[in-house]
Subunit: 346 residues, 2 copies
DNA sequence: TGTTTTTAGGTAAACGTTTGCTTAATGTAG
DNA sequence: CTACATTAAGCAAACGTTTACCTAAAAACA
């Protein structure tokens, strides 16, 4: 009932008063600056005063004076994407050691919302950005880049520009290797469940698939590319139904694990035998793949390595060690499993 | 090569200069304050100047003046916990509509780290906190609470105090109902895979299990409670091995889905038939449960409702509509599945 | 002893906002 | 024509830091 009125925060001024000195001295002590001679006595008396009063430094005041806020924004389009989460975990671990907090924000894969999130973070003078951008990432990060605020883009590039760091998995290699594996097992009619998104480097997944087919002496057939504009399990399910209706198709390769989610659920409900009736493989390795009875063939994306590299790049920029921009690719890992039928035996 | 020097941010002063007015006027215009008469002409000329210069208001400066930062911190001990994520999503959606960003931080379920995260967020003058605390949550949030900063604790209580809002799922009910269901199916020797954590309300899971047994006319047997201090799949696996070694046990109830993760993997590797050899059920409903071939019996936690309620409480406090504190529980949802053998037939 | 150097710490001006207090020009009523 | 609202905008003091610039002892040097 009793309305406790907001206890005022203790400031450097209060500390100075109690330690019987000036705010300048307090500031120097608390930052243990070496630009200033401080007697041991003064030092302890300030430190004591600060402790006794429960002093908490205001980052926003010191940020205003030009100091860093100690915050890195991590913008992800999908919060529950295990691959993106792994990237995040790795960066966070490194950032923490350096005394930064990571503030994670959801962009919902919506360019308009992404813009407002970036605007808000920018108003907060966040020190740096790690971003998995939408296809409008370039314009949405324009302010940041022209103002020299470090931006590292992971897994998805910023279209048409180069004044930023980019570090991603090898999307081409991922589909190439899995497709080549399928071809090696004698599959000739391989469907690709494909998110037809405006994100440029995702098109490399299609290219990898195509190249592997052609290198394997097969003709690329557009009819086998099952496109969807929406990255949802429901679409994965729809595509799978379509694939099953063509009995010449012996394998389906889900180029997004979210599509596989719906697809595999559909296969189970329809009591379709994997891999007897159809072989299945997936790009990505969410928990359910690892938990599944069927050991699904899949391509693991190098989340930890990407995170590691992204963190390095961010801190190079923050610590002004380098001003060069890099664009790097890291290979994926093929896991064969037992969801692919070997059509070459007998 | 050319080192672009950090473009200075445009300030209200620059805008004032260009619009040929004072900073006060600019501030009033940009906040479209009603405490001030502004000619339409002045208004448009200020707005134009701001647009042309690409002005971005500094939240940290206005925060310093006592305005809100527009940021709510969401502290979670486990980033990849789908239940916590669902709570987060719901709160975020509501917060966004009100113009707040949610800044998510990982506490890693480590009280020491939790403390530093809270300290850092506090330095940033974040407006409010939604927290899934560690068992040291009470002391770690002490500063926030004594300073009247809104704190809503979700799913786990702050021990020993009441000056905060608490909203959680019904842990007692969750285990009670599932256990009662097992008892109803004729199971008498039911193992409980149990995270023996210092978090007080998790003990209600044990209590619910016990009560259901006793209400079903069974004796509670401490030997059937398989405790672990670590919440890891590996421990779930170990427990499961132990459970299998006692052939009198007909069912295992994983009171944490993380334990089930290891346990079910172990059962699969050991080719144990579910539910023929052993019945299995789980508290929680991660994606892999929904993706599984076996339709596991599980108890769904009401993430969306909890998030909804938590958001309401936070905004009540932020908008100073209420100063009362509440502690509420929301029921879970039983899903029966087909992983429990009916021992009552024949 | 007088001069320079070192040591110690205070003053005050920023940083970019918000807002109370002014002033000054109109408009309006008596 | 005076008096008083009303309308319109500028001035300057905060908010809590950081830091350049002082001042004044004490120590070192000549």
């Amino acid at each position: 009932m009793r309305s406790v009125d907001k206890a005022k925060r203790t400031t450097i001024k209060d500390v100075a008063l109690r330690a019987g000195t000036s705010i300048a001295t307090v500031s120097y002590v608390l930052n243990n600056s070496k630009d200033r001679y401080i007697t041991a006595q003064m030092r302890t008396s300030v430190e004591e005063a600060a402790r006794e009063l429960g002093y908490v430094k205001s980052s926003i005041a010191s940020g205003l004076k030009g100091k860093e806020m100690g915050v890195i924004a991590f913008l992800t389009p999908q919060f529950d994407n295990h691959f993106f989460l792994e990237i995040f975990f790795t960066i966070e671990k490194i950032a923490n050691k350096k005394g930064y907090v990571l503030s994670v924000c959801n962009t919902l894969d919506d360019p308009v919302y992404e813009r407002t999130v970036i605007e808000r973070m920018n108003q907060l003078w966040v020190d740096a950005y790690v971003i998995i951008p939408t296809h409008r990432g370039t314009e949405n990060t324009a302010y940041l880049r022209t103002h020299g605020i470090p931006v590292v883009s992971v897994e998805r590039p910023l279209d048409g520009i180069t004044d930023y760091d980019f570090i991603s998995s090898d999307n081409f290699g991922a589909t190439y290797e899995m497709t080549a594996h399928l071809v090696g097992k004698g599959h000739t009619r391989i469907a690709l469940a494909y998110w037809d998104s405006p994100i440029v480097n995702l098109k490399e997944r299609l290219a990898g698939y195509r190249q592997a087919l052609e290198d394997g002496g097969l003709r690329f057939d557009e009819g086998l590319v099952k496109r969807t504009g929406e990255l949802t399990p429901a679409e994965g399910s729809r595509i799978t139904r379509e694939v099953l209706s063509d009995s010449s198709i012996t394998a389906v390769f889900y180029a997004q694990y979210v599509l596989a989610e719906g697809g595999i659920k559909f296969l189970r409900k329809s009591k379709v035998q994997i891999p007897e009736r159809i072989s299945v493989c997936v790009l990505g390795g969410p928990k359910w793949i690892e938990m599944s009875e069927t050991r699904f063939a899949h391509v693991l994306q190098p989340g930890a390595s990407i995170g590691q590299r992204a963190a390095e790049l961010i801190f190079e920029k923050l610590e002004k060690k380098s001003t060069n921009n890099v664009q790097e690719k890291i290979a994926c890992e093929l896991h064969v499993g037992d969801s692919i039928k070997d059509l070459t035996v007998i």
